[in-house]
Amino acid sequence: MKYPPPSTRRLRVYAFDPQSAIMLGTVGYAYATIDLPWEQVWEQPLERGPVNEYFEVIDIDPASKQFYDAVDLNDKYLLAQNGLAPSEGNPQFHQQMVFAVAMKVVRLFERALGRKILWAPVWNRETGTYEAVKRLRIYPHAIREANAYYSFDKHALLFGYFRSQNLFAGASWIFTALSHDIIAHETTHAVLDGLHRRYKEATSPDSRAFHEAFADIVALFSHFTLTEAVYAHIQEKGGDLDSESLLSGLARQFAAGTSGHGALRQYIDKQPDPELLANTLECHDRGAILVAAVFDAFLQIYKTRTDDLLRIGKVERGQGKRLDSDLARRLTDEATKTAEHVLRMCIRAMDYLPPVDVRFGEFLRAIITADADLVPEDTRNYRIAFSEAFLRRGITAGNCLSTSPESLLWDSPEQLLGQDDLSKDFRDLNLSLEPQYDRDAIIHQAEELRKQVWRWLVLPDKKDIAIDLQWEKALGVYFALRENAPKSIAQAEGFPKVEVHSVRVTRRAGPDGQDLRQLVIEVTQRRRGYFDPEQQKKADRGEPVGREDFNFRGGATLIIDLRDRHLRFVIRKRIDDPERLNEQRAYLQQPGGAAFTYIPAATGAAAREPFAMAHRGE
C-alpha cells in the first residue's frame, strides 16, 4: 500500500533563542514548530544537510577545526517527532533550526510576492556574464565571533558563535544560528539582494540602512506568528502591545552575551523625534527609525481593529487586568492577523521600488501604491496608519503634493509624460509567460524573459523611432548617445549599455478575491562618477579622464498589468539627474557624516561584508 505524502514537514525550533527557554517567565512559549510544505513531486527531495532546492546547509567549522555530521530529516525517528528536540549542545539541531527558519522566511516572501524567489546571481569575471545561483549555502558555524552575515561573494549565510563573559546570556556558548531573529534577518538580506541587487551599493544614507531595516522588519513581524507568545503578552498587559517585550525587541541573547543589554534593537518608541532621521547615519541606527515607523503603523492598526473587542469585553486597554481567555484569544488573532497584513504590505512593496538608490520615502510610496493596487478600498485605513507613522519620524516622500495616501501613489505614465503611448507598444512584445514549477525551469525562464525584453526595448524600433525616445524619457536612461546625454554613461560598441535587470511575473490574490497579474520590469544604466565636479564635467563631455571614483546608476521599474497590457506605473531614477549625483558624491565623501581624518571611504571588513550583524572594528 502506498501512502500519499503528508502536506507539511514539521520541525521544532527555539521560538526566540535558547535564553528564553531557561527563564520561567518565557519557557511556556520558548519552543515553536515550523510547518514547511512537503516537497512537491517536481521538487528535488530533501537530502541530508539539510539540502533542498533553496539551501544547502554545510556544517564545516574551520575555526574549531571540526565538521559536524549532517542531520537527516527524513530519518523515520526524526519524522515521528517533528525533528530533533531543541538543544544547544547538538550541532545537528542547529542545522535543523537554521534550515527551518530560513525556509520559513522564503515561504513568507513567496506567498506575499506571488512568485518563487531567486537568489542574486554572481558575476563571472571570466565569461563576463551573470550566473544564476540555485542554492544559497548556510554555514551554521562559520566563525568564532559575535557576528553573522550574508556574504554575496560566497552566496552564503555565515553564522558565528562565541563564548560570553556575561552571565545574563544564560549560556557560556552563544550560537547565532540558534537565534530566530538573526537567521530571519540574514536570510532576508539574501532575499532582498535577490530582488534588488543594486541596493547593497552605498548610494545615500538610506541605502544600507534600508537593507538593515527591511531585514529587521521581517525578523520582528515573524515574532507575531508565535501565537502562544503573543497570547501570553496580551494577557499580561491587558490587551496592550506597545510596551517593550520579547516581541518588540530583537536578538536578546546575542545582546545579553555581547553588551549585557536587553535586546540588540528595541522597536517601541512612543515619542518619535522627527529630527532624528537627519542626524542618524550609521546604517543599523538609521534603519531602526524605519522599522519603528512600520511597527508604529502596526500598533495603530491593531488598536483600531481591537477597540470594539475591548468594549465588548468591558475592559480598558493596558489596565493589566487578566482578560477573559476567549477575549485574549480573539485579541491574539487580531494581533497575528494584523502583523501578517503589515508584513505582507511591506514585502509587496518590494516590487514597487526603483531598481537603484532606494530612499525611505520611496518605500512609503511603494507600500501605499502596492496596497492600493491590490486592495482598492482601504476600509480599515491601513494606508493612513502607515503614512502617519512615517511622517511622525520625519520620513517624507520628496515632492508629493501631500502625505495623503492618494498623493503618495506612484506616477502613471500619463502623469509622468503627459500621455501614454507606451502601453500600445507592448503589443509588439510576445513573452512566453507559462507558469513554471521546476526551479531550474524558473531560473531559465527568468533569464529568457530578460533577454527578450532587452531585445524589444533596447534595439531600435523598426516601425516607430519616436517610441524609443518616449521610452528613454520614461525610463530615465539613454539607448543611444544623444546630444544631451552625459558621455560618462558606460558604453559598449558606441552605444550606452542598458541592463534589463529583471523581468518578473507575479500573481496575487486580494482579500476580496481580486486577482492581480503583473509584469515587473527593471531597467538600469551605469554612469562613471567622479568626486571632482570638474572631472565629472569633462567625463560628461566625453573627454578622457581617469578611472571613475564611483558608480552612479539610474533606471526605472515598470509595472504592467498583464490583464490588459497596460503600463500602470513608472518608478524612475534618472541617470542624468545632477542633484542625485551631487547627493551621492557628498555622501560617499563623508562616510558616517563625519570626516574625522583624511580617509575617503570605508575600507576593510565593513566594506567587504556590509551585511554583518555587528561590524568588525567598530
Partner: protein, 555 residues
C-alpha cells in the same frame, strides 16, 4: 604676548583647583647637573636675557621616529639642554629581496646613533619614549653597544607605563594577553609562514622580534643588559633602570613639565587620554564620546581560544575550547582528505565532499581569521593611542607639536582638559585651540597615515602662517609592506593628508626621504633654518635639522 593682552576668562572648573595646578608644575631636571653657573645665568637673564636657539633634528632614511632636540644659549659657557624623542625603525619581516629598502633601516639607525653620540655625547637631559612600538624604540636594541654608555637624567613616558597604576595595568594586561594569543596564532605550525596570516604578522612586528613577543623572551637580563631580541616592553624597563625610579616621570594629560636650559621652557602634555569611564565602559558603541581604547575583553578571550585550537595541529584540542562534546566532533581542516588518505570519510560524508568541491574563493576556510585580524588592528590602534603627545613651547611661546602615533581618539581627547597658561597658580588656562594656533612645527602623526591627523579639530586649527612639518617616513619602505588586503603596501603619506599638509605649510615639509634641494628651496624665508648632516654611502644625508632662533627677548 597675545595671551596676556587678551586674557580670556574661562568659566572652567579646572581653573578653580589651585592645588591640582600646582601639583602639575613639576620641575623635571632633577639631580645636580644644573650647575651654579646656569642658575646664575638664569637669574641674570631677567635683566639682560641671552638669545636662545632650538634645533630639532630628525634622522633620515628610516621609517620610524628618531628625534633629537637641543636648546642652547648664545653664551657658549652654558651647556645646551638635550632631549631625545624616540629612537626606532621599522622591523623587516620577510625576505630582503622583497623588502630591500626596509632592510637598510637597521644599518641607518646604528649610523644615526653613532653620529648623535659622537657629536653630543651619551648624556641626555630628557629621553622621551612615546609608546611601545618597535618603530619608536628599536634603536635602543640595534645600537645597544653604543647606548651602553647612555646617561639620562630624566625619562618621560606616558602614564600608561606606570606599573603602580591600576588602570594602566588593566590595560597592559589586556594588551599582553591579546599579543600573546595573536603571536601564538602567527607562530602555530599550521599557520606559520602562510600568506593568510600576513596582516596579523605584520602588525605583530611592532612589539618585538618574531618568536619573542608572547613568550617573554628578550626581557632585560639580571645584569641590566638589553638583549638583541628584546621586546618593546623590555626596552622601556631597561630605560627605567638606567634613569632610576625617581627620575622617571609618568606624564598625564593636562600637566606641564619643564625643559630647556635652566628649565625655563614649558612642555604641555596633551595625551594619552586617561578616562576611567572610557576604559571601563562595557559597550563601546554606547552614546556619547567616541571610544579611545577599542579592544574588548571578549575579543581577546575569543582570539585566545582560537589560538588554543590552532596552535596545536595534531593533538586533539582541549575540550573547553570546543563548542560541542566529543561524540559530535569530527576533526577537519582544509585539505585533510585531499591526499587520498581516509577516502572512506570523504565518500561517506556528502557534506564534506560538497564543501571540498566549492571553489576556494567561495569557501570559508579563512573567514575566522577576520577576528584575529580585527583584534590585531584594534590592539595596534590602542597602543598608538597610548602615545605620549607633547606640545613643546619655544622661548617665544610658539609650539612644536610632537604627536607621536596618536590616532583619532587621542586627538579628540586633547580638548577634555585645559592647560595651565602660566607658572603662577590659579591663573588663566589655555585651550587646546590656543596651543594648536601657536604651532609652528608639526611632527606628523603616525608617519602621515590616513587616521592619525585629525582634520577639523586638528590640522585645520594650526593656523600660524609659519607652520612647518616633519614626516619621519621613507615612502619606499611603506610601499614594501604589501599584504593581500593592501597590495600596494602602506599608504604613507596618505594622499589627501599630504596634499593638505603641503597647502597649509606652503611646502615647508621635511621628510625622511625628502629631496635636499627641494626642501632647502621650500624653507627659504622660513622661521626655521634647514641644514643637513653628513652624507651616507648612498649620498643621502643622515639627518635634517631645523633651527629656530629666538626673535623676541621679552620673555
Amino acid at each position: 604676548m597675545a595671551d596676556r593682552e587678551n586674557p580670556r576668562p574661562r568659566a572652567n572648573k579646572k581653573t578653580e583647583k589651585p592645588a591640582q595646578e600646582s601639583s602639575r608644575e613639576k620641575s623635571t631636571a632633577k639631580g645636580g647637573r644644573t650647575t651654579a653657573s646656569v642658575r646664575k645665568k638664569a637669574a641674570t637673564e631677567r635683566e639682560k636675557p641671552a638669545r636662545s636657539m632650538v634645533a630639532i633634528r630628525m634622522y633620515r632614511g628610516i621609517l620610524g621616529d628618531f628625534f633629537f632636540i637641543r636648546h642652547s644659549l648664545d653664551d657658549k659657557k652654558v651647556k645646551p639642554f638635550k632631549m631625545l624623542i624616540d629612537c626606532g625603525v621599522l622591523q623587516r619581516i620577510g625576505s630582503e629581496e622583497k623588502k630591500p629598502t626596509t632592510a637598510l633601516g637597521k644599518e641607518r639607525i646604528i649610523a644615526g646613533v653613532k653620529n648623535l653620540i659622537g657629536e653630543f655625547g651619551s648624556d641626555f637631559d630628557v629621553v622621551v619614549v612615546t609608546h611601545e612600538h618597535y618603530d619608536h624604540l628599536s634603536g635602543f636594541i640595534h645600537a645597544r653597544d653604543i647606548f651602553d654608555s647612555l646617561e639620562l637624567r630624566n625619562l618621560w613616558v606616558a602614564w600608561t607605563e606606570d606599573r603602580s597604576d591600576a588602570l594602566a595595568n588593566a590595560y597592559r594586561d589586556k594588551k599582553n594577553r591579546a599579543v600573546a594569543a595573536l603571536t601564538a596564532l602567527v607562530d602555530s605550525p599550521a599557520l606559520k609562514d602562510t600568506e593568510k596570516m600576513n596582516t596579523v604578522r605584520d602588525l605583530m612586528q611592532f612589539y618585538g622580534p618574531p618568536g619573542n613577543v608572547g613568550s617573554g623572551v628578550g626581557m632585560v637580563a639580571d645584569n641590566g643588559a638589553l638583549s638583541g631580541n628584546a621586546s618593546c616592553e623590555a626596552v622601556i624597563d631597561w630605560l627605567k633602570q638606567r634613569a632610576g625610579a625617581t627620575n622617571t616621570s609618568y606624564l598625564k594629560p593636562g600637566e606641564v613639565h619643564k625643559w630647556g636650559v635652566g628649565n625655563t621652557l614649558r612642555a604641555y602634555v596633551l595625551g594619552p587620554p586617561r578616562d576611567d569611564d572610557r576604559l571601563r565602559k562595557l559597550d563601546p558603541s554606547g552614546e556619547g564620546k567616541r571610544e579611545v581604547y577599542l579592544a574588548k575583553g571578549e575579543d581577546v578571550a575569543a582570539v585566545s581560544s582560537l589560538a588554543a585550537v590552532h596552535a596545536d595541529l595534531e593533538g586533539a584540542s582541549a575540550g573547553s575550547d570546543q563548542p560541542f562534546s566529543l561524540p559530535y566532533r569530527r576533526e577537519y581542516f582544509p585539505g585533510k582528505f585531499a591526499a587520498g588518505n581516509s577516502d572512506d570519510i570523504l565518500s561517506s560524508d556528502p557534506i564534506v565532499k560538497k564543501y571540498e568541491q566549492i571553489p576556494a574563493s567561495e569557501r570559508i576556510d579563512e573567514e575566522w581569521l577576520g577576528s584575529a585580524e580585527s583584534l590585531a588592528l584594534k590592539i595596534d590602534g590602542d597602543v598608538n593611542n597610548t602615545s605620549l603627545v607633547l606640545a613643546l613651547e619655544l622661548p617665544d611661546r610658539e609650539i612644536l607639536l610632537f604627536a607621536a602615533d596618536a590616532q583619532v581618539g587621542n586627538w579628540l581627547s586633547w580638548r577634555d582638559q585645559d592647560y595651565p597658561a602660566d607658572d603662577v597658580v590659579n591663573t588663566e588656562t589655555l585651550s587646546i585651540d590656543r596651543l594648536l594656533s601657536r604651532t609652528i612645527l608639526y611632527k606628523v602623526g603616525h608617519h602621515a597615515s590616513h587616521n592619525a591627523t585629525l582634520r577639523e579639530g586638528g590640522l585645520e586649527l594650526m593656523t600660524d602662517p609659519r607652520l612647518c612639518a616633519m614626516i619621519p617616513l621613507v615612502q619606499k619602505v611603506a610601499s614594501e609592506q604589501k599584504t593581500k588586503s593592501a597590495p600596494k603596501g602602506w599608504q604613507m603619506p596618505y594622499e589627501n593628508l599630504d596634499k593638505r599638509l603641503k597647502e597649509r605649510t606652503r611646502g615647508r615639509i621635511v621628510r625622511g626621504d625628502g629631496d635636499v634641494n627641494e626642501e632647502t628651496t621650500a624653507f627659504k624665508g622660513s622661521v626655521f633654518n634647514v641644514s643637513y648632516g653628513p652624507d651616507t654611502k648612498t649620498k643621502d644625508p643622515l639627518w635634517v635639522e631645523l633651527t629656530y632662533e629666538q626673535k623676541n627677548n621679552a620673555i
